[in-house]
Amino acid sequence: MTTISKKRLAKELRELQTHGPPTGIAVVSAEDFECWLFTIEVLGNTLYEGEKFCLRFRFPGNYPIESPEVTFVVDEKWGAPVHPHIYSNGHICASILGNEWSPVLSVVSVCLTLQSMLASCTKKQRPQDNDRYVLHAPLSPKKTRFHYDDDTV
């Protein structure tokens, strides 16, 4: 249902433009209905103070019924935040991007959830299985079957 997907993304984009993105989040590019880029900052007194990250949204053809693929950009300019649920290749282990995704959620609500996930972090560290995962990780985190075990972060 590409029409639903386009209509819905157009609507989300329109709202971003009229109301502006939430504090700490800025649109880098949203040229088409396939891939959007945002910068994300965690404001206030957190472990990530002064750091800026880049989030990439890729939308499947049947968005919002299917979840978007959300990763942190890792290249020469950007890096993935050091966080127990974020792998060094930028893949994020968050249930709302997997089995708990529902069309009620949106690009903005995912950004806000990730922002608060970073804000509530108490210890900067990589996931325990980071090296093993990164070595064998599929290109898209949606092909990974994450086991969501931690509700605290």
């Binding site: 249902m1 639903i4 819905r8 609507k11 919002p64 009620v104």
Partner: protein, 433 residues
């Protein structure tokens, strides 16, 4: 917004009463001022399926449910308030049945796999059974007993023939002696029910069938019939293994040989290096302190020993056949052996009787058609095969026992030679001067 104004109507408002509606799936919104206007303009029906304020297009909701859930069980829920959606649907009995089958597919497939493997094994063991029977009793006799092919087989043959390989394995176990004894009776009861002994229709060789009275009573004849021989397996086997174990104890007990104190019964447990039969596998325990634990540890049941056991058991018909052929060949040079193997009776036109009355279905096979007067005598392949197999078994056991005994004797004869201190610095030794 009309938050401050009271709802003026008696009825509870529904989705059609909302001024602005936004589908929570496609985010499309509509704003209307009157109730009547929207019905024609709306592209899709609007639904309020849950207990919170979310509303959606019916088409969007159905699309979402179809994509995320295979069946409506459990019912889909609102992602915000978790209220289950009530869905009216035409779920016919046939669809329900097919869904149920789909859900049980795993179990059904497993059952099919097990059935497939079982019937495969059944076919395999039946084929083996036929082949083994032919080898053991000879072509003529097997044709007489079960006919020319599966179309001739009596019903019980379908039960008995596949049991032959297992019966052969059971005859090779020492542990299951009591079971060996019961084996014929284990199979026979229902075989009796199906028995077509007196079935006048059954003339595999066109031979006349005696009146049933002639079947009763144990008729001894020479050579013994296959039935009688098979019926004798359990008692003979028990007797043989008792004798053999006695011999093993006598030869292998620590006191035997060198000391020759003649302790037989008392030496049962502290048998030194001993040969034990466990599940038909000969397990040798080398430990000189052979107590109970030691031979329990020595019980090796691994792939190789089980494989050897199965292979040996299943080779018995071949061994019997080869031994029978050798005996037959040797009989050309010995008139006595020729008589013993009843080879002289073959050309005789005089009929001979198969000893029967022992209506046992043995070795998993109920042998039909006993007591039949045959126009021509059969080559008693089964008899020389039995004799050959017995000779082979006795020889094999004797060689094994001899090997174990020689090994033990060699160990006992070991003495270590003591040397003098040639080449050693004598100053380093504390010697008695």
């Amino acid at each position: 917004m009309s938050g401050t104004r009271r709802w003026p109507h008696a009825r509870v408002p529904d989705v059609a009463d909302l001024r602005t509606r936004e589908c929570w799936i496609c985010k499309e919104d509509e704003t209307f001022t009157t109730r009547g206007q929207r019905k024609k303009d709306s592209l899709s029906k609007w639904i309020h399926p849950c207990k919170c304020t979310l509303v959606a297009h019916e088409s969007c909701l159905l699309e979402w449910i179809a994509r995320t859930q295979q069946t409506l069980d459990p019912p889909p829920q609102c992602p915000q308030c978790n209220a289950p959606f009530v869905i009216a649907t035409k779920r016919t009995v046939i669809l329900r049945a097919l869904d149920w089958i789909d859900a049980k597919k795993g179990t059904i497939v497993n059952v099919l796999i097990v059935t497939g493997i079982t019937s495969g094994l059944l076919v395999l063991s039946t084929a083996y059974g036929v082949h083994a029977l032919r080898m053991l009793v000879g072509k003529e006799m097997s044709r007489y007993m079960i006919g020319n092919g599966p179309e001739d087989w009596p019903i019980e043959a379908w039960i008995n023939l596949p049991l032959i390989p297992f019966a052969l394995m059971i005859t090779q176990t020492a542990r299951l002696d009591p079971f060996v004894l019961s084996l014929p009776f284990f199979v026979s009861p229902y075989v009796h029910a199906l028995n077509s002994l007196n079935d006048p229709e059954f003339h595999p060789l066109g031979a006349p069938v005696l009146p049933s009275s002639a079947h009763d009573g144990l008729m001894m004849a020479f050579p013994p019939s296959p039935q009688l021989l098979i019926a004798l397996i359990p008692p003979v086997k028990l007797l043989y293994s008792t004798l053999r174990q006695g011999l093993i104890r006598m030869l292998m007990s620590p006191s035997a040989g060198g000391a020759r104190s003649g302790r037989l019964g008392a030496a049962d447990i502290d048998v030194g290096p001993q040969i034990r039969e466990e599940f038909g596998l000969r397990v040798q325990v080398e430990d000189e302190n052979g107590n109970q634990q030691n031979w329990a540890r020595g019980l090796v049941l691994n792939g190789t020993t089980i494989g050897a056991f199965v292979t040996y058991s299943l080779s018995l018909p071949l061994i019997a056949s080869v031994s029978g052929h050798i005996l037959r060949f040797l009989a050309n040079y010995s008139p006595g052996l020729r008589t013993f193997l009843a080879l002289d009776s073959i050309p005789q036109p005089t009929p001979f009787l198969f000893g029967t009355g022992v209506r046992v279905a043995t070795l998993g096979l109920h042998l039909r058609g006993p007591s039949q007067l045959l126009g021509t005598g059969m080559d008693p392949v089964w008899w020389r095969n039995t004799v050959g197999l017995c000779l082979f078994t006795v020889t094999k056991d004797a060689v094994e026992l001899l090997h174990a005994w020689l090994r033990r004797e060699e160990k006992r004869s070991r003495r270590i030679v003591s040397r003098n201190f040639t080449g050693v610095d004598l100053g380093g030794l504390d010697l008695i001067m």
